[in-house]
């Protein structure tokens, strides 16, 4: 869980001071000192007001000069060093009544905002914008102002980020822009010549705040979802912090010592909701799986039935094919035998006719002899008649 003290310096410390951070994370992962934490208190109605932390005597200052206009509010955010600004409904009403931000005033305020090198105040300002969601004119002015502040900050000087902030149509996607922002070396940002570069701790604080500002800006302008913002925060801020809290005691210590219990509660409720969603999804998935399994079983039974039908059909087809082949073969054999019978009959008749013809021819030759040999012709004629009768009877018998 992200600790509040990692985002803003604790009381009694200079705003630009940050703790030593890990190499691959945007935030300091060390525990805050006990004495410092005790001095910090969470406001019970934190969700209704924005508390701007300043010094120990911040409550005095707020009583002395309450913001009368939007410009005052911005100025107060950037100038009151030890002020915890609570905006009451009357304050808000006042600001809503005077929402106009003159260009000259705006320029002055922008000049003033240059001093917020770590973007801590700008982040507070951007959080404050959400308080005026019911007053679009104020929200728009504040939003435009914070955008200009970000555009002037060297952390957002790269072309891709500038295009995103400028709502350029060719601007890259959000993931790429966030990666481009956080991958910069914040110790060597291109500050103006007269401005000193941030030290290591400050640069880390600047990096975290720049990310917060950018995510808030994306939420307002690009309509990115809360889940996406949380995933970005988890991967780039909270995740690296949680890496060092693996044991139960470390986790409990971190949770008990956290100053921003509201943030923890919010995060917990988000996660709880997410877990509930996941559980619901899991339950849905389980039901879907059961239904799919039942469906698969039904399909398998159906498939088996179809396979059996297919096998039966194949067997029938095989039998039919075999029958066709057998019938065809049988038909061919029958044809062959019919041809054979025909040839046999034809040959037998031909042979008979030839033999009888030979006898008749021979008999005729004998008749032509001088004297004619009638007995030869008679014999041969009788034999021919017998032979032909025999053949006629055979043919009759065949039929």
């Amino acid at each position: 869980m992200l600790k509040r003290d990692s985002l803003t310096p604790p009381e009694g410390r200079k705003p630009d001071e940050v703790r030593e951070t890990g190499k691959d994370s945007l935030v300091n992962t060390q525990e805050p000192q006990h004495g410092q934490k005790e001095k910090e208190k969470e406001s019970p109605d934190a969700d209704k007001e924005v508390r701007l932390r300043a010094s120990k005597d911040g409550s005095k200052g707020s009583k002395q000069g309450k913001p009368q206009s939007l410009a005052d509010l911005i100025r107060a955010i950037y100038t009151r060093k030890r002020l915890s600004l609570n905006l009451s409904q009357s304050d808000k009403r006042l600001i809503r009544s005077r929402p106009k931000l003159e260009p000259e005033e705006c320029d002055r305020l922008l000049q003033l905002a240059i001093s917020d090198k770590t973007l801590e105040r700008t982040r507070d300002l951007m959080l404050l914008i959400m308080e005026f969601s019911d007053t679009p004119s104020v929200a728009k002015q504040l939003h435009e102002f914070s955008r200009n502040v970000l555009r002037r900050h060297p952390a957002f000087s790269s072309r891709s980020l500038a295009e995103i902030l400028g709502n350029h149509p060719d601007g890259g996607n959000e993931d790429y822009a966030v990666r481009a922002l956080t991958s910069q070396n914040f110790t060597s940002l291109p500050w103006p010549e007269e401005t000193a570069a941030l030290k290591k701790k400050k640069s880390q604080q600047c990096q975290v705040n720049a990310l917060y500002c950018f995510l808030l800006w994306l939420k307002e302008n690009k309509g990115v979802s809360l889940e996406w913002i949380l995933s970005q925060l988890q991967s780039r801020v909270w995740g690296p912090l949680a890496r060092h809290h693996r044991t139960d005691s470390a986790i409990l210590k971190a949770l008990m010592n956290t100053l921003d219990t509201t943030g923890v509660a919010v995060m917990f409720s988000v996660l709880e909701k997410k877990v509930a969603d996941c559980n619901q999804q899991m339950e849905d998935a389980r039901i879907a799986q059961e239904q799919a399994a039942n469906r698969a079983k039904d399909l398998e039974v159906h498939l088996n039935r179809l396979m059996k039908q297919l096998d039966t059909a194949k067997d029938q087809l095989e039998v039919l094919s075999e029958n066709i082949v057998n019938t065809k073969r049988s038909h061919e054999n029958e044809m062959a035998h019919m041809r054979n019978d025909h040839e046999t009959l034809k040959g037998r008749v031909l042979r008979c006719l030839r033999e009888e013809l030979l006898l008749l021819d021979e008999g005729l030759q004998a008749l032509r002899r001088d004297p004619p040999k009638v007995h030869v012709m008679l014999d041969h004629a009788e034999r021919v008649i017998d032979g032909l009768k025999r053949e006629v009877n055979r043919i009759k018998g065949d039929n």
Partner: protein
């Protein structure tokens, strides 16, 4: 692909093929088989009926430029036909080629399909080298012989198959059957018996003296003589050319007509030359005909009587007399058969001219195989025979060879020769008693080491039967390194009816004793001389065999018996000169100081 039945007969040839439940015979356009006659006229070769019509005499062999029954010349180097030497294989190939051509060219040719081979019928007495030549002739004509089958067996198979095979087998089981094929050229007789699903031949006989053509010629000569006598014509009278051929034809016709008629006029115009009435004219009646052919019929029946007598049977014991061939239709012959065997036992198939080819076609279709009808044995001692090929062994088909090797020992090497006597029992029974008479088939002799002890030198006998059904025996002596080969051509075969459930695996590979050794070895135990002991005893095993099985046995620390060491060393060549042991030329041992030969004469060895 069709395997046809091919009846390559002495006088006629015929192809038959099984289609469905019947056979188709490839006869000529007058429904007659194709004569096995070849005529060589210059460069022209005339085969078949056209060549046969040029014949003026009966008888087989060469007549001028005509060859009748060319298969009779198979096995000879050459035949001289009008001064030209021709190979019998080529002549037979001409006939086969013509028969194939006629079959393919006929209207039935489209039902023949592509011919992959033929089951060819052969006479019972056709020897192995003739079968080999016949195979060559068929191969030359473009037809492979799948299997040979004897003509009578083929006829009987065809008869059984045309009728109800199962009923026939039940009816004639273990009964005596006489098959005789009395055709135009020869009379073939076979006495056989069905044993279960096998037809076994008991006795065979055949003659060319009483063929149908001899009948025709006898009738012709008799009629010429009678006409000359009646008309007072001198016997030296000349005749017109081809007149005798025409008269022979008329005599054949008269012979057939007199089966149904009492009288037939034999008339040939322009027969005699140089007389007033040139015509030949004679009225022949049935009585005269039977009188003319009676001596021939008597001769034929004497052959039948002789076959039965030699086989030790009476005509009453014959359960079936199957008469095939054209002559079976002659009333005189049929009457005599009825007298001998009784009308019920005589069967004359309607298709006598084609039944052999039909039987061959059925054999091809059923893939019925030949089996050994009798044991082929090796004489070991008096009344002791070693079966080399057992009865029922399937004979090899085309391209196959059956072989087996037998390992033996020389029992008496004193004369320096080992003798192998191959014989077969007279009986066709599967179980032949030792004291039953045997028929000697062949002898083989090989030189052996006369100095060796009895049962010392090993002999090997290879038996090989090829697809021409020729048995080749090859004997070797392993130490003396001598060998001898012999071929046996007159093996006796039976025909097995196909029946899958009755296939006896035991009979499939029943080559002698080695099969037994092989089967027993498969269990992993050494079983040589298993007949001598019922348990493994290494001392009973010949040394040289044991050495191959386990050389460590001969380690001197195990103290192997001397006789086994001697047996082992006997087959080791001399380490110095490489000669075989006991070779008198090897004097290497004597050159070793203090050494004495391990082996010597039997008496010396006995002393050792």
């Amino acid at each position: 692909m069709t395997v046809v039945g091919f009846d390559f007969g002495t006088t006629n040839s015929l192809i038959s093929v099984v289609r469905g439940k019947g056979t188709i015979n490839y006869l000529d356009d007058e429904q007659r088989p194709i004569p096995s006659v070849v005529c060589y006229e210059g460069k022209q070769t005339i085969v078949g009926r056209e060549a046969r019509e040029r014949l003026s005499h009966s008888g087989l062999g060469v007549q001028g430029n005509i060859v009748r029954s060319p298969k009779l010349f198979l096995g000879r180097d050459g035949v001289f036909i009008e001064g030209v030497e021709r190979s019998p294989v080529d002549i037979v190939a001409d006939v086969v080629r013509h028969v194939l051509h006629e079959a393919r060219a006929s209207r039935r040719g489209q039902d023949l399909g592509q011919i992959s081979g033929a089951v060819v019928t052969i006479p019972v007495d056709m020897e192995g080298y003739k079968r080999r030549a016949l195979r060559d002739a068929f191969r030359l004509a473009g037809l492979n012989i799948k299997q040979f089958v004897h003509e009578p067996l083929s006829a009987l198979y065809g008869y059984f198959r045309t009728a109800d095979l199962q009923a026939m087998l039940r009816r004639y089981d273990r009964k005596l059957i006489l098959v005789f094929d009395w055709g135009g050229g020869t009379l073939d007789l076979t006495l056989c018996r069905t044993l279960g699903r096998r037809i076994v031949q008991i006795m065979n006989d055949g003659t060319e003296e009483v063929g149908g053509d001899v009948f025709d010629e006898s009738i012709m000569n008799s009629l010429i003589k009678k006409v000359c006598t009646l008309r007072g014509i001198e016997s030296t009278v000349t005749m017109y050319s081809r007149a005798k051929a025409r008269l022979l034809n008329r005599c054949e016709r008269a012979k057939m007509d007199l089966s149904a008629r009492a009288r037939s006029q034999v008339y040939v115009g322009s027969f005699f030359k140089g007389i007033d009435d040139e015509d030949f004219d004679y009225s022949l009646n049935q009585e005269e005909l039977e009188k003319i052919v009676a001596p021939l019929i008597d001769k034929g029946f004497k052959r039948i009587e002789s076959v039965l007598k030699n086989a030790g049977f009476d005509p009453e014991q014959v359960a079936l007399c199957l008469a095939t061939g054209g002559m079976s239709n002659m009333p005189a012959i049929r009457r005599r058969l009825h007298e001998w065997f009784g009308p019920e036992r005589v069967q004359v198939p309607e298709s006598t001219a084609t039944i052999i080819a039909e039987g061959a076609a059925w054999i091809a279709s059923d893939e019925a195989g030949l089996q050994m009808a009798k044991n082929i044995e090796l004489t070991l001692a008096r009344n002791s025979y070693l079966p080399l090929v057992k009865v029922g062994t399937e004979m090899p088909r085309e391209g196959e060879v059956q072989s087996a090797t037998f390992h033996l020992y020389c029992t008496d090497p004193r004369d320096g020769v080992a003798k192998f006597q191959i014989c077969e029992p007279r009986s066709t029974s599967e179980k032949v008693l030792p004291n039953e008479p045997r028929i000697h088939l062949s002898n083989l002799t090989v030189k052996v080491d006369r100095m060796a002890r009895p049962f010392h030198e090993r002999l090997e006998l290879d038996i090989r039967i090829d697809d021409d059904l020729i048995l080749e025996a090859h004997a070797r002596s392993l130490n003396a390194r001598d060998q001898d080969r012999q071929e046996i051509h007159n093996l006796e075969f039976g025909l097995a009816f196909p029946c899958k459930e009755d296939v006896d695996e035991h009979q499939k590979d029943s080559f002698g004793i080695d099969t037994l050794v092989k089967e027993q070895s498969s269990t992993g135990t050494l079983s040589i001389r298993a007949n001598l002991a019922d348990r493994e005893n290494l001392r009973l095993i010949p040394g040289e065999c044991l050495y191959e099985y386990d050389p460590r046995y001969f380690d001197t620390r195990h103290r192997p018996p001397d006789y086994q060491v001697h047996e082992m060393l006997y087959y080791q060549p001399c380490a110095k000169c490489g000669r075989a042991s006991n070779d008198p030329l090897c004097i290497c041992v004597s050159q070793i100081p203090g050494a004495r030969p391990v082996v010597g004469t039997p008496s010396e060895l006995e002393e050792m």
